[in-house]
Subunit: 250 residues, 2 copies
């Protein structure tokens, strides 16, 4: 059973401020929690009997069997699942040199936690290990973001850092960004290393960041020039761009 | 000002059952509402003075200037915007022949309204005019789905119809689906017409539908064979597949 205090603690982690103070976050759902166990230190694991019977030897400071109703009360999501866990936030070393050797992503103010989590998940799929996020990007330890990563957060390092400083240091590395007036990505040369910058859902890439982008790309709509939706969802655009970079890789 | 009855009516449209009875749905946000005005019959338009000053001559049975606080109370979304409107649901003619001549999408139990809306938005971007959805797919007139379409719902026709009957009628048309054991999409021949089937977020494509798929595709992860996230988000996978079909088109 979950004590009232535990329940209160879990629910408090819905707030970014409290997550930073506690250096902890909540993950929910069997797939996500199983991916994180053994990689991140688990403080509390609250699962149904079903979860524990399907999870061999999980390690956590504290393990509690709970009913689905208890999970429902503790959950930070609309649709609670068979397990909820509190993990320590990882301390990733800020590797600013990674884009010199590998393809990396930079997010300039992505606001929606679901979009952010989806981007981390697809980064993992496409073998992108580092995502640099501007300080005004959503928090990847937001419960909805964690859920959308489906556990990819265990493998992809998300670094919050001012993009202008980072881009200045990487001025001799290819910096890509997508723009409605960019060049058709299918006609451009794409490198095996560098940084792909994706912007905010409504406003796109900020002016300060745009000034530091050396290669402007565009994902063509079809048929070309047709009046259509103004843009693609940011996670969708990220996916199409990353897929094209990887298609060309040997 | 919005009367209590109007407010109640709007909020009732959160339920699919009530939407079907009323043959109406709610759209929110300036971009989405402006895209729908003039295409769908608008019953009620409740906007802030700011919305009306930026929208030349909107047509609706009833127009009401409201405060942001009133919108907050009426809104079916977490983040209300400058306008909320009630539209008649469109009566799309079920064109089962479209996949013979054009590329179309079929959704086999996509559950999340946000994913569904994002798919409709990207279908519009890639010039796909018809999306066939199994009856257990989320409702495209769900407020969250409508929001995620960003207005593309005005141009893309979503038809709810049993997929087994449709696929039987189209047995001589290329039917594509994505599977973890499918063939690398970049090595496959892709046609200019046909149907791309996308499955449920957790369970993928159902067995009955799978039996009718003639071309099994796979979006390769990177590096090939690396242990990674089990799959891509369904909207993201749809986007990568559609982009590749369109990249090859003359």
């Amino acid at each position: 059973m979950l004590s009232k205090n535990k329940m209160k603690f879990i629910r408090s982690l819905e707030l970014k401020k409290r997550r930073r103070e506690e250096h902890a976050f909540v993950a929910e759902g069997g797939k996500t929690v199983r991916e994180l166990l053994g990689r991140f230190h688990c403080r509390l694991l609250a699962g149904t009997p079903m979860f524990f019977s399907h999870t061999p030897a999980p390690e956590a400071d504290e393990m509690v069997q709970v009913t689905f109703d208890e999970l429902l009360k503790a959950s930070l999501l609309c649709t609670p699942q068979e397990v909820l866990a509190v993990f320590d936030e990882p301390d990733w070393f800020l590797d600013e040199e990674a884009p010199r050797h590998n393809l990396c992503l930079a997010l300039d103010g992505v606001q929606d936690p679901g979009n952010l989590g989806t981007i981390v998940r697809l980064a993992d799929w496409f073998g992108i290990g580092h995502v640099y996020a501007s300080p005004d990007t959503a928090d990847v330890f937001n419960p909805k973001a964690v859920q959308a990563t489906m556990g990819a957060i265990a493998r992809v390092q998300v670094h919050y850092t001012p993009l202008d400083t980072l881009l200045d240091k990487l001025h001799d590395v290819p910096i890509y960004g997508t723009f409605l007036d960019g060049n058709n990505i299918y006609h451009e040369e794409l490198s095996e290393n560098g940084l792909i910058v994706m912007g905010n859902e409504g406003k796109g890439i900020s002016r300060e960041t745009e000034a530091k982008i050396s290669r402007r790309l565009f994902v063509p709509n079809y048929p070309p020039g047709r009046a259509t939706s103004e843009s693609l969802n940011v996670a969708v655009a990220t996916a199409v761009v990353c897929a094209e970079f990887r298609r060309r890789m040997p």
